[in-house]
Symmetry: C2
Subunit: 116 residues, 2 copies
């Protein structure tokens, strides 16, 4: 089973609409990245329900550590920065997305994190 | 300026992770739909910041009324149903996405709704 894992920072105390928009940014960017690199995988994910898991961390440092782990493991991952028109300083890192990728592979990197 | 409008039901009382995942489902599906129908528009939206606005309604009836308005106006819109593995009954309509489309056109349909 393929899934996306989207991880968001809770320390920024974003409102729930802002938070949802950051998760959506991450999901779309992650999907488009894999669509360009491995179209079959991206479309298989979409056709099998486009499973998404949203997890949380408390700091930017934690978030970037997981991004680094994903990168080192050869996984497709994207970093989302807020455009800063509301609530946050421009360029603030809010979320990352890893995948779509197989659950087994993703769980090795993010299995220890808690659901949002 | 192109944007996506994503509208979610508040009456389902989804947790914030669940809510964010529904918004992401809607955004990805809406993007992919427009990518297939009008690739230039979808990519222009992506390259200009992939603006997303998340709005709220209180009922399924309200949500479907807006979907119908968008459909009648010839806009690309998608309905998101939850797979029902957690929290909700399978097939529950949770959200819709309209666009990417120009702000002026979208605001005629959704300008009266409140931000999530």
């Amino acid at each position: 089973m393929l899934k996306q894992v989207i991880i968001v920072r809770l320390d920024l105390e974003m409102g729930k609409g802002k938070l949802a928009a950051q998760v959506a940014h991450a999901s779309v960017e992650g999907f488009y990245r894999v669509l360009n690199k491995n179209k079959d995988k991206a479309l298989e994910w979409l056709k099998t329900g486009a499973k998404k898991i949203v997890l949380k961390v408390q700091t930017e440092t934690e978030l970037l550590k997981i991004y680094e782990d994903a990168y080192k493991a050869g996984l497709e991952a994207v970093i989302i920065r807020d455009s800063g028109l509301t609530q946050l300083i421009p360029g603030t890192i809010t979320a990352i997305c890893i995948g779509p990728e197989s659950e087994e592979i993703l769980d090795k990197i993010t299995g220890h994190l808690k659901l949002l």
